[in-house]
Symmetry: C4
Subunit: 283 residues, 4 copies
């Protein structure tokens, strides 16, 4: 009987963690739908005009979804071959965080100040991270970012230095009377400007301030080119190294275009491009 | 006589659908001019100061253009070898949509609420899609986008997750008293910020809110690099594969620069670059 | 004597049009300084607080500079081997436009409405185009842009279509009561949004309007990647084809890095990189 | 004894200027922490609500840090083999600038106008430049920028010309009554627009002004692509030339991928990628 239980455990594992069986696919689709509806309930719940009317329905739906996600979490814990390592993994923590806030809100119902309740409620929005599980092909992008992490770090350090200096300059030039009340506030202005967001809630008003602001903008404009350049060059290398991995099954020669249908050396058919790309990117 | 009719039908088909005959070119130019004037009438019609003065003229012009486009649509239906497949195609639907709104406005003249009439009138602006027919060389761009559709999808999912989390954070930090009245509203703020649009109609006002907003901006700044990198790398591959398609007609060797005039191996003249690019892109 | 005159004419031509002689370099530097001071006078002249005090000085300086540029223009006409083709060339027209506005202001001093006088005065700012003459190395950039002109045209057509459709959508959704008074006005909003400028003078205020605006922003965000991709890919090709033009003077092999000092095949010294790049780019 | 002193001097030199010994690493980490705390004190000092409460503490901390940095500067001067060349170097000047402002504020305590004191205080923020010392890997980025300095200069000249012309156009079209009070002011507007910052403190209000502004935006949108293209192409070349430097220690063949672990020709293990990249970038 223990063996049967083991078989059941393994079967459940394949359905819940795997994506290749039909049952696994159906389970995943149901879970994605549940996450989306639960997020929708959360979003609508925060709109006060809707909340006033549907408050009870939203509360019930929320309890229902928390129930479902709790059962899912427990089953995952039960059927996983190594429950502790699952619980400690990124997905394990995310799955736990997706249900915890609702229980916290039940435990501390009489929390005197609104802020805490709102915070706990909104924490449920991290449920969206449960969707990361389904972005499996993000590897190539992440790897490009990781391989250029040194350059990205240098870039952000350079931005931090520039933003501090220009913020301090504007603080001296414009002063508190034009809204630049402190250096942190002025650094906030410099970030808003150098990223070309430009809210306009804080703008230089003296001639000299406008001249320095113009330099900041043009600098931000050119600096924007650096991360783009870094990531493009990395991605290009990634893609090239992938392209050369498309091997002809007949003559074993590499270097085929990623949309090639036939080997350019011997003419035998290559694997279907759409299917071929996936395993390569997951490698 | 039936045969003659068939010949006329085919001749009309060549003129209307084709672009190689002189008559076909003249027809296309007339049609483009008609579309532009009809769009101009529509734009000016919406400016109330102009509308008050020219209302009747605009109405007449509009009926005229609808008449022309109706005749064009009927001729296309008549001379097309497969009328149903034309009617169901993208261009068929667009051609129908370009005339339908005017007829709808005639059928429901006494529509009690303004909104519907305005909606029907403005729908005529989709007439601009009739111009898509003439953007034939957009293939290389579209193909680049299509080949990177998986990466673009992952990118947009990542943006959606980030925007939801940062929107919810700002909702908790700033609260309704600073304009962040609901999570959807705060997500709108996060999109405005992460895309570096920065309207400034909704800005963080607390110190913590500004700090989190700064992180959002810098993140948006770096993330902007990812789609650029993807599309650049794809376009680069596309162009390289095209370059190698420029074949010398004499020695049949590939790999010539896209602006090369003579084969670099045997010196014989290559096809004119400007003409050469077009068929390759249309392939 | 005629011959002497011819020699003088040719010498003047070398000094004024050429840049290789010492006298030619000094002439060019003086001209650049004159253009900059003349532009500075024009800029300060438009600031009313400064204008009130220095009005007469500015007027005299302006007459002085116009005099200098007139003499320069006449000498260029006189010493040019083909005066008519110079006068018709881009630089000839620019040189004429740089002096014309001042004479026009003298001829029509009693122009009754301010606008015309201001317009004529400000036209003098096109004097800045005289500086284009000194941006000789802009060839590689311009060629990249020209070679991708088809793609850039398609890109702008696509932007025009998107902007028209989204502008019309917002006009219907928001309506005149929220500032979207006409379709041209709404198209202006769509351009401000899709280019991520985001002034904030016109923002959607209904929920649906904000949702559609979010789509517009994310679209603008991704579309921004397309021209960058096009130009990067072109520039990359341009540079690669240039790199391969760096030929070893000894073994005549190509393909050296652009900063290489010695031939990587035979070890003989290559031309100085800084000098080498210029003639290649000017080719 | 003199020899012993020399040995001590050299040992101190290795600790303070070098980064390879353990003592050197500890010294660097302490210095980085001191710089960060000193910057934090400066930032908080400028926030008036915090300053009122902690003024004396901040003053004492500031004297303490200035003391530490003065001692550091003197030790560097003493142990450096060539004190004058250190004092004249970029880092020597930065180290001096990091301590000077505090002494200036002590010397001129009765400076009658606030501005000067604030200026001197804020100058201490340039202490952040002391961190540049630790951004050693920025070479590849800087080299890319330097190699494309000609193109970047041309790009900025083109932007300056465009901004001047469009600023002048808007000045004529909108005029002082809509906020475009002078040409410099209008050029500021053009920079804000062409860099897509878009504060919204100055917006065109006439129809024609909006049309010209739309052209400015679309131009800025496309021009943004140029520096990105330049830097991407340069970075790509830099990276490619680096990749080819990864040599197999066994068969001495080049051209390995930057993340390759084994030689693709003979299969012998390559140096660890993370360590390998650093020396190459520092080369």
């Amino acid at each position: 009987m223990n063996k049967e239980k083991e078989t059941l455990k393994h079967k459940t594992y394949v359905v819940i963690f795997g994506t290749h069986t039909n049952a696994g696919k159906i389970f995943d689709i149901c879970l994605i739908i549940a996450i989306f509806i639960s997020l929708l309930v959360l979003l609508l719940d925060s709109v006060s005009s809707i909340n006033n009317q549907w408050s009870t329905t939203f509360q019930l739906l929320e309890y229902g979804f928390t129930c479902i996600f709790t059962i899912e979490y427990l089953i995952r814990l039960w059927c996983s071959p190594k429950p502790t390592s699952y619980a400690k993994s990124f997905y394990g923590v995310v799955d736990l965080l997706a249900i915890l806030p609702t229980y916290l809100a039940i435990v501390f119902p009489s929390a005197s100040f609104m802020g805490v309740i709102r915070l706990i409620r909104v924490l449920r929005i991290f449920r969206i991270l449960k969707l990361v599980r389904y972005l499996q092909d993000s590897n190539i992008l992440l790897r490009s970012l990781l391989m250029s992490r040194r350059k990205v770090f240098i870039f952000f350090s350079a931005v931090a230095i520039l933003v501090t200096i220009f913020g301090a300059l504007l603080f001296v030039i414009e002063g508190p009377e034009h809204g630049f009340t402190s250096i942190p506030q002025s650094i906030y202005w410099a970030i808003v400007t150098i990223t070309t967001v430009g809210y306009g809630d804080l703008v230089p008003q003296t001639g000299l301030g406008k001249a320095v602001a113009s330099v900041t903008m043009l600098l931000g404009y050119s600096i924007l080119a650096v991360p783009t350049g870094i990531i493009t060059a990395e991605l290009h290398q990634e893609m090239n190294s992938h392209k050369s991995l498309v091997k002809c099954p007949n003559c074993m020669k590499n270097g085929h275009e990623s949309d090639a249908m036939f080997c350019k050396h011997c003419g035998s058919e290559l694997a279907d491009p759409d299917n071929r790309v996936v395993p390569v990117e997951n490698k």
